[in-house]
Each structure stands twice: as C-alpha cells, then as structure tokens.
C-alpha cells in the first residue's frame, strides 16, 4: 500500500530510524474537551506522552477534532499521513471511517473506542462494560431510593446508551425487586430543556433518583434536581452522573449553603484503556484484530470517588457486587428487553 | 417679483440616463404652477430633487430667496415644502390618523394621544374641505380619500409650498372637481402649489403659469392666460398633436362577450356585482362608466377568471368561460390591460422583453419543448417596443426602470399584439401624457375596426365619451343604464353614475 500512498515525508525510511513512538486520536463532534470520553481519551494520550517524554504534535502525541461526521475520514487520513504509530478513533461513530481507511492503509495501526471492528488485523477495538458500572450505580439507587421509584434518562436510543439503561435496571432490581425504573429517552444529546422536562416529570411522579446517560440533555436533569432541592432542601432528589465524576455538576446553593445532588457517578476510564493500548503497541504487542474489553475487572468502569452521599452499608453492598461481577458470578444484561 | 421656490439650472443623472438637465423652475408665492412634460420627461425627478429625495449633480435651489441645501425630506419639511407623491407614500396597515401624524405625534405621557390626533386631523380636514375618516385603515379606503390623506399629511406639517405629482391621474371626475376646489382653498390661505399633470384642460382651468420639460430639458415657462392647450401640447411633445380622436362609425356584428345574471363577491365577502347583464359585440367599444368601487374591478376579475363568479354566466363567442382558469380564458381570446400596472401588469424585475411575453412565453415560437427561445422573445419585444413607441434604453432593461407611461405602452403593446377577440382595458391611459393617450386611443379604435370587441373601463368621462360606442353605467354592482355615446353627455352620465334612473334623467333634461 505504501507505494501508492504517497507519503511525502519519505515514509518508510524515517519510520525505520528510531523515531519516536507517536500516537494520535480523532475525536467525534464532541471535541477534545467535552468533559466526557473524548477528554478522557486525550488525558490517556497525554499521560502516555508524558511518561514517554513525547511532545504534543507531529513528533509525539496529538489530537484531531472533528466538527462533523464528514471530518472523521479527513482527520484519520491526516493522522495516517503524519505517520502516527497508533491512531485512535474515539466514539462508535468513527467505525465506518476506520474500517474503510484501515483497509486502505494496512501499514497503520488503528484503535476504535466504543465499537467493535472485526477481522482487521490493524484495528484494535476498545469496549467498555458500561453495563457493569451501571449495574453498580443501579445497586446504589436501588438501595437508596425511598420511594422505590428510580429513573433513567437516555440521550438518543442506541446500542451504547441501552447498555447503560440495561445494566442500571438490572442493578436496581437486583437489590430492590419492588422498585420500578422509568426509562425515557430525550431523543437528543444536547437539548437540556428537554432533559429538564423529563426529569421534572419523573421526579413529580415520585422518582427520587435519576441516572442519566444523556450528555448535554443530562445537564437539564441536574438542573431540575437542583431546582427541587432549592425549593425544598429536605426533599430527596438525586442524580447519578455518567462518564466522568459529575459531582461538581450537582452543587447547588440552598439558602446560602452549598448542597449537592450528585449521588454518585458511573465513571468510564477511557484514559486507562487508551494508555494501555498505546503501551501494548509500543511494546510491539498491539492487539490488532482483537477486542479489548474494559470492565470493572480492568479498571475500565467504576463508581466515582466522590462518595460522600453513600452510606457505609451501600458502599459495602457495592463492594460485594463488585467482587461478584469480577468473579463472573452475575450475568449483567447489556441490552434492554423490549 | 418674489419667488418662493427657485430651481436654477438643475441637472440630475441616473446611471445611464440624464433625467434633468438645465431645468429651471421658479414658483411665485400664491400661484398654482404647472409642470408639464411627456412621460419620462423628468418631472417627478425634478420634484424629488426639490423634496430632498435626490441630490442634483448641478444647479441651485433657493427657498424664499435663500439658497437651500435640501439633503433630506426632513429639511424640505422644515422649509415648508410638502409633497404629494405620484405613488402614494402611505402605510397601508396604518389608519388615516396614524399616517398623518407619523413623525409628529401628539403625546399624552409616553403614549400617542390618538384622540387629540384625530381631533386635529378633523380640524384641518374641515378647514380645507378634505373629508376623511380618521380612524379608517388606508387599505380600506378609496384612492381619492388616500390622496386627501396625503394632502393632509403636508398640511399637518404646516407646509407652505405643496407639490402635487399627478394627483388627478387616479381620481374620478367628482374627486377631481373636489381637488380643484381644495387647491383653490389652499391658495386662498396663502400657500403655493406646484402641480404636475398631463391634463391640459386642468392646467387651463386652475393654473397660473406652466413650466414645460421635454426629454429632461427645461423648455420654458409661460403664463396660462397667454397660451392654449394646443400650444402647450406642441411645446411638450415637440410636434403637432391631434386631440379629438377620429373614429368612424362602429360596425357591431356578433356577440363576443355575453354576461348574464353575474354575481360576484369582493374580497371581504360582500356582494360587489349583482345580477349583471352585459353584451359586447365584435366591432364595438363598450365603455363602463361609474364611480370607483361600484363593482368594476370585481366584474373584470370575474370575466378574466381571477375571481370566482358566484352565479350567472360569462360567454365568449358563445362558449361558456365562467370560472375557467385564467390561462384558459386568455387562450380563448381575452386580452386585459389591468388597472394597476405595477402590481398586475408587469413583473417589474423582469426585463421589459420578457414582460412582453408574460402570457405567451410557453407558446410557439417563444418556447419549444419547454425551452424558451430568447431570440424570438427579444425579437418580438424589439418589434413591439418600436411599434408602440416604448421609450426604454433597450429591451433588456428591467421594467422597473421605465416611466409609468412607457410601462403602460408596453402592456398595451403586449395585449394588442396577442390579437384577442375581447380586449378589456381598465384605465388604460391613467397617468399618461397627451401624446401617449392619443396613441392608445387610436390603438383601441383600431382594434374595434378590425372587428374585435373592446370593453373600456375608465373613471374619466371624457375618455369614455370619446372612445366608446356604447356606454354602460355601473352603479352598486348593476348596469343601470346603457346609452349610445353620441346621444349622451357628461352631465347625464354623471347623474346616472350617482344612481339616478335613466328615465328620470332623460325626463329632467328634456323637459
């Protein structure tokens, strides 16, 4: 493929010299500082770069931001043309683009986050067991709900978001079979007004804990919870955050005092995964053609470190289930039953 | 002698055209000064310069002897100059009062004191005899009343010098009489008036002096007392003009248009045409006389398929065309010179050439297999432009750039050229100069003489009397009388139009 690839910078020869081991990632439309998986991935790359004394840029580690779907391919190709050793596509949306380019550029190594690409030796797939982490926060919710009603607000329905919903529901039911889980999708990842409205509906129907996996729409869920808290500081309204520790999102001023409505968060360690795959590749063990899954076991998902609202009892239960899951004692569904 | 207005050696150019050159106009205090010129001669342009809408390239303006730089209408207003524009400057959705007080509103607190405003309007309107309904919406009132609103606007601002740009073109005879009276009242109050008109008779009747412009150039100023209509016309056009339209006797044969029991509602859903019967034969011109708003518009629109007929029948050459699609009716042989040429007659942003085929663009030879043949279109346009003396830089010029008279000539050329069996002409000469009027009347008569039927709608009795063979008087949506043109008079028609029955009228006049 190299003959036709037209790499101007002299391609192969350079590569053979002991050039830095370089890594790059292509974001989806969220951008590199989305407070979510793109950012987390970039943190992983940055950590890798710093450990290996790399500089940001062509000779070290870099990112390419996509502003629209059409940019994926362009960015991936730019990364290829810059001879990065591993190129990450962050987000399931980059699947098609990577598949195509991986075929064209057999000499480059790719990794995709949140999606599986099969039968390509130069593509590693990084997946997370979001359902496991969601199960854990489901356990928290199931134990902590006083009304026996909890809610889930998803963005746009899809495989990925369904994993969160399914795991969560299972976790709730596991510890509290009487509890009901209201699942609703906003149809958007950006409209926080809609998220707020859905949350308002769920809370006023008696739900006291909502787990969101709805990006920007999820911000509306926080807003609604905070509003309710402000109106009635005694009321139990909680939100469970997603992807990163969303503790700060839950801060609310009530009568001059700062309270917090973030019960806990389901943290997805894209950084851990990205860094690990980079290290493997550097050691020449690039998991091409393989699926690398990150669950509780692999430190890929976890419950957030801010745990101030959780009682010891709950924490104990979480620990227990954590072990059980790691030991494979529980089977957690990753799809919603229709 | 002291002049209130002096415009000296004015020159105004537009891209590609010199609209005014070496024009001088001096208006004395207390006179009615006429400004005369063919369509497109540059009258409106000159007045817009005076009113501050355009800046002249050259020349000097003095107001009351003082040099004035009139860079905006505001300054003109301050100098006591008010203008009634050829195309009204009224906000359709506002009331009469709102239009008048705009920019100089009486207030109570922070809101408009509409009561006080209406009172003031009433007062001025009484003082000068300009009857208006202060709270009516402009869109709902007659053209005549709209014009009175325009005049009131200037008076409300205390204008001393009033410019009237073709005020009578859009008025009914009755309204014109009223307007003359109004102008006389204004003069009595010490105001001065500049009047643009194409109607030489009016000039002779009410004006003191006339300034003539020909093709943008000032020709000179004459005292009305020292001149005649013929002389004025010759001055204006630069050649001899024949006035009375020469026409032979009509030779009516078969019925071309037959209308029976036609009923039409207007846009508000009110009956506008009621049980109307009318026949127009080939080889004759039937004029419809009537005061504006008596169903003329709805009648035409029903014939041409633009408005639904509630009941009754319209036949063309014996074939039913009631409520057919406009295009079908056009194709069956109806031509239509609409009353409002800007709104209905032309696509102003199309080249004049393309306007010439607005109805026939899809037919041979202008179009073949759905593709237009611009060569043919513009060939035709050029022919029509020459034949109908449309003054335009070229056939590619946008219709918008043409003066009103030339726009009208273009429309008439287009309609006549399609050779329709029935030609409906609504106010065909409104706003046109004598030369153009003469020309158009000739064309209408030619149509008749070649065996076509012509239906002429006009508010000008003189036109109706001169051109028509038979005259149908319309009143409140009905034809109340049909008379022969050579057996009636302006007075008789006037009475009929006001609703008197023919029998009464004839008795009165004959006894």
């Amino acid at each position: 493929a190299c003959g036709t690839s037209g790499n101007k910078q002299g391609g192969n020869e350079d590569k053979q010299e002991d050039k830095n081991f370089t890594v790059a990632m292509v974001t989806d439309e969220g951008g590199v500082d989305d407070k979510s998986f793109n950012q987390s991935a970039w943190e992983g790359l940055t950590a890798f770069g710093e450990e290996n004394n790399l500089k940001k840029g062509k000779e070290g580690y870099n990112y390419f931001e996509s502003k629209s779907e059409a940019d994926y391919a362009t960015n991936l190709n730019t990364a290829v043309r810059n001879d990065f050793d591993v190129i990450y596509g962050v987000g399931y949306k980059l699947q098609k683009a990577i598949e195509k380019i991986a075929d064209q550029r057999k000499d480059s190594q790719f990794a995709i986050v949140d999606e599986v690409i099969e039968n390509k030796d130069n593509v590693a797939s990084i997946m997370f067991k979001e359902h496991e982490g969601s199960f854990l926060v489901g356990v928290v919710a199931g134990l902590m709900t006083k009304s026996n009603k909890v809610g889930f607000v998803g963005g746009i329905e899809g495989d990925l978001i369904n994993k969160f919903a399914a795991g969560f529901e299972a976790g709730v039911k596991e510890v509290n079979p009487n509890a009901t889980v209201q699942i609703q999708f906003a149809g958007t990842f950006s409209d926080s007004a809609k998220g707020a409205s859905i949350a308002a509906t769920q809370y006023s129907s008696g739900v006291d804990i909502i787990y969101h996996a709805a990006g920007g729409a999820g911000l509306g869920v926080f807003t609604e919870a905070k509003n309710l808290k402000q109106k009635d500081p005694e009321r139990d309204v909680w939100v469970i955050g997603v992807d990163q520790d969303q503790h700060a999102e839950g801060d609310v001023k009530v009568d001059g005092e700062t309270k917090n409505v973030t019960l806990t968060s389901m943290v997805k360690r894209v950084d851990v995964a990205v860094k690990e795959v980079a290290n493997l590749a550097k050691e020449g063990k690039f998991p091409g053609g393989e699926l690398v899954e990150y669950g509780l076991e692999e430190d890929g998902v976890k419950i957030s470190d801010s745990q101030e609202h959780l009682t010891d009892e709950v924490l104990k239960a979480v620990k227990e289930y954590e072990t059980k899951i790691k030991n494979g004692e529980i089977d957690i569904p990753s799809t919603l039953k229709k | 002698m002291e002049y209130v207005i002096e415009m000296l050696d004015i020159r105004k150019e537009f891209p590609g055209i010199v609209a005014n050159d070496q024009v001088t106009l001096q208006v004395k205090k207390g006179e009615i000064h006429a400004l005369l010129g063919e369509n497109g001669a540059g009258k409106s342009t000159l007045m817009n310069v005076l009113f501050g809408l355009y800046q002249p390239e050259k020349g000097e303006i003095r107001v009351n002897g003082q040099p004035a730089h009139i860079t905006s209408p505001t300054i003109a207003n301050k100098l006591g100059i008010g203008m009634v524009h050829q195309h009204f400057m009224l906000v359709d959705t506002f009331t009469v009062t709102e239009n008048i007080i705009l920019g100089k509103e009486p207030k109570s607190g922070i809101s408009i004191d509409i009561k006080k405003a209406e009172q003031e309007v009433q007062e001025i309107s009484k003082r000068y005899g300009l009857a208006v309904n202060p709270s009516a919406k402009i869109a709902d009132i007659s053209v005549g009343m709209q014009q009175r609103v325009e005049i009131l606007k200037t008076l409300y601002r205390g204008a001393e010098i009033l410019i009237f740009d073709e005020p009578t073109a859009v008025l009914t005879p009755q309204e014109i009489k009223e307007l003359s009276q109004i102008m006389k009242n204004l003069i009595k109050e010490g105001k001065s008036i500049i009047l643009i008109t194409h109607k030489l008779k009016e000039i002779m009747e009410i004006c003191d002096r006339v300034t003539v412009i020909r093709k943008g150039r000032g020709i000179g100023t004459v005292d009305v007392a020292d001149t005649t209509t013929n002389e004025l016309a010759n001055l204006m056009v630069g050649r001899e003009v024949v006035f009375t339209t020469n026409k032979g006797k009509a030779n009516p044969t078969e019925n071309v248009l037959e209308i029976h029991g036609l009923e039409v509602k207007d846009s508000r859903g009110i009956d506008a045409v009621k049980e109307l019967d009318l026949t127009v034969k080939s080889g004759e011109i039937v004029g419809i006389a009537g005061v504006d708003g008596n169903g003329q518009t709805e009648l035409i629109e029903a014939i041409t398929g633009l408005r639904r007929a509630e009941s009754g029948s319209v036949k063309l050459n014996g074939k039913e065309i009631t409520n057919m699609k406009p295009r079908k009716i056009i194709e069956s042989g109806v031509g239509h010179i609409p009353q409002d040429r800007h709104k209905h007659g032309l696509v102003l942003d199309f080249p004049i050439g393309e306007n010439m085929v607005l109805q026939s663009y899809y037919q041979h030879p202008y179009s073949k297999n759905g593709v237009l043949n611009f060569k043919e279109i513009y060939k035709k346009a050029k022919l029509l432009i020459d034949e109908f003396d449309v003054r335009t830089p070229s056939e590619y010029t946008h219709a918008r750039a043409l003066s009103g008279g030339n726009q009208q000539k273009a429309i008439i050329g287009r309609e006549v050229d399609r050779d329709p069996d029935l030609l409906i002409a609504a106010q065909p000469t409104r706003g046109l100069d004598v030369g153009a009027i003469e020309f158009i009347h000739k064309r209408l008569i030619e149509q008749r003489d070649s065996g076509k039927a012509v239906l002429l709608i006009s508010f000008e009795l003189e036109e109706i009397l001169n051109v028509s063979d038979r005259i149908a008087v319309i009143f409140e949506g009905k034809i109340v009388a049909i008379v022969d043109a050579d057996k009636t008079s302006e007075q008789e028609l006037g009475l009929l139009m006001a609703g008197s029955a023919l029998s009464e009228v004839r008795e009165d006049t004959h006894v």
Partner: protein
C-alpha cells in the same frame, strides 16, 4: 470599471478582507496568522489528498446551495434543506441496501429516490404555503426536526437491526470512485461532484432557459402579475418547493451514496442545510455563484481541520468564515471602497 470585472472583483476582495480580519484576530489573540493560513491552504488545497477532500465537501454544499437558491429565486425561503437532505440521505441508503441490481439501474434509482424523498419533504411546506398561505419558514423549520427524528427511527428500526448505523450500501449503488481514490491518495472524493456540477447546470437551465423556470421566476417576483398573466401561482409555489427539496434530497444522496455509503443516527443537524443558506446567498442565488461559494466553503471547512496544527483553535476558523460571509454580503461597502480607491487614484 466594467460590470463584469467588478462582479468578479467584489467577492475576491470580500474574501481577502475576511482573511485579513481573521489574521488580525489571530494576531490579537496571540496566534501566528501566517502559520495558520499556511495550514489552511495545505489542509484545503496543498496536497492532492486535501484537494480531494475539499471537492468532496463541496459536493453536498453545491446541492444544498442550489436548493436554497432555487427556492429564493422563486420567492420562497427554504430553511428546510437540512431535513430534506436527511430524508434524501436515508432514502438513498435504503435503495442502496434493499436491492441488488446492475449499477446502471441501481445507482440512478437510488439517486432518483433520494430526490423524490427530498421533493416530498419540500412538497408539504409548498402545499401548505400554496393552499393555506402558511409561512414556509416555520413549516420547514418544523419539518427539519420531524425529519431528524423520523430518519433516526428508520435507521435504527427499519434499515438496521436496532443499530446506530446501517450497513454499507451495495457497491452497485455507490458513488465512490477507485479512480479518484488513486489520484487523490485515498480521499473520499466520489463521482457525486460531477452530479453536483450537473445539478448546477440543470438549475441554471431550468430557471433561465425553460418555460417552467420563466413561470417560477415570474411568480417569485410578482405573484399578482403572474396570476393575471394566467400562471397558476399555487402550482408554481409547490413546484418550486418540490424542486428545491429534490436538490436537497440529492445533497443527502451525496452523503448516503458517496461520502459515507451508509446512514447513521444523527445526534443533531448536520449543518450542511444551514450552511447551504449561506452558500446560496453568497453565490447570489445563481448556479455558478453557488458552485463558487460551495468551493469556498469546502476550502474553509476542510482546511480548518489542519489549522490546529498551527495551534490555532478550530473556533477561530468559524470566526474567519463568519467575517468572510459578512464581507461578501456587504458588497455595497466594497463597491464604495473601490469607488473611493479609484477616486484617490485619479
């Protein structure tokens, strides 16, 4: 100066002014404008690969621009290109997936179906405008949202087995081009660019040369006179929206059959439809203008991706684009500038 020359000069000056403004902003905020623009150039036209990407990006912009321009020329404001494009996209992919046919049938079929889908989406606002005088701006905005949710639903539940994206369409319906890939070093450039240029010619031809176009323009400029001249105003309004929608649908086909070869769930609007408004108006609503404006947009959008290489944040590119649009729109100002310049020269 001749009219033709100034017509050519004005957009060029506008673009230059936009770039200069962008440079000033970069300077003020501490970035190197020369490096920034060098990257922009490289990322848009500097290498065959990027030329390919720029042309590919330009393809849907041409169609979206044509769609907006066509409606504008006929007196309508089609804000619904985005939605019409989405339905066209999904429709083309549906045909691409559902059948297996020889390419000569399959590809045209997929393209036509996309156009029909877009046309249908334009038909509704057209019909409502023509029959009930409902303002097309609101209806098309609403239709955008409806399209977004409906196409997402179709992708998930009809065209795929509850997946976030459909499979790749059959090769027989694809616009992708091995030839282009080889000369542009694997860019995603596809044969759609020819269709888009053809589309521009078609629009020009319809509007300027045919009787249908004559009617449409006439109705767009003066409904009343057109009606008096025997044209059917309602029919023309509907026709205009339908044709406009068809162009938009084709923009979707470019994505579905060309760039992506599939359809996926959209978390929001693609933006192409809205950019199409700017493209159309920058291009003065003429076919050739749209092509040029689409090229400009393609250059800026694709070139922008490399600008972060010079440490210029991508947001800055948006700012530069905004200023270029401002300046192109404010051609009157530039005319004044030219006039003053000429006076100064004399």
């Amino acid at each position: 100066m001749s009219k033709r020359l100034s017509n050519l000069l004005i957009p060029i000056i506008a673009v230059l002014l936009g770039l200069i403004t962008g440079a000033i902003i970069m300077l003020i905020s501490g970035y190197n404008p020369i490096a920034g623009y060098a990257k922009l150039w490289q990322g848009a036209l500097g290498e065959p690969y990027y030329v390919g990407e720029t042309l590919r990006q330009m393809t849907p912009y041409i169609f979206a621009g044509l769609a907006v321009a066509f409606a504008f020329r006929t007196g309508l404001f089609n804000i619904g290109v985005e939605g019409q494009m989405l339905v066209g996209w999904v429709a083309s992919v549906w045909v691409g997936l559902a059948f297996e046919l020889p390419k000569v049938i399959h590809l045209p079929l997929a393209i036509i179906v996309a156009a029909i889908a877009g046309a249908l989406w334009g038909f509704i606002p057209g019909l409502l405008k023509a029959r009930l005088k409902v303002h097309e701006v609101i209806v098309t905005i609403m239709m955008n949202y409806i399209a977004l949710h409906v196409t997402n639903y179709i992708v998930r539940y009809v065209l795929s087995d509850q997946k976030d994206s459909t499979d790749l369409i059959h090769e027989s319906a694809s616009l992708s081009s091995v030839f282009f890939e080889s000369i542009t070093e694997y860019s995603t450039l596809h044969y759609g660019i020819f269709l888009a240029l053809l589309g521009a010619i078609v629009m020009w031809f319809i509007l300027e040369k045919t009787k249908v176009g004559f009617e449409l323009r006439s109705v767009g400029l003066n409904q009343h006179a057109s009606q008096y001249a025997g044209m059917n105003v309602s029919k023309n309004i509907i026709a205009s929206m339908v044709i406009s929608g068809a162009f938009a649908g084709l923009a979707g086909a470019m994505e579905g059959l060309g760039t992506f070869g599939s359809a996926s769930i959209q978390s929001g609007f693609t933006g192409v439809g809205f950019d199409g408004i700017a493209v159309a108006l920058l291009g003065g609503n003429t076919a050739i203008g749209v092509v040029l404006a689409a090229f400009l947009f393609g250059v800026l959008k694709v070139g922008a991706l490399l600008m972060p290489d010079a440490n210029v944040p991508k947001e800055l590119v948006e700012i530069v684009i905004a200023f270029i649009i401002f300046f192109v729109a404010s051609s009157y100002m530039i005319r004044l500038l030219i006039a003053r310049f000429k006076k100064g020269a004399k």
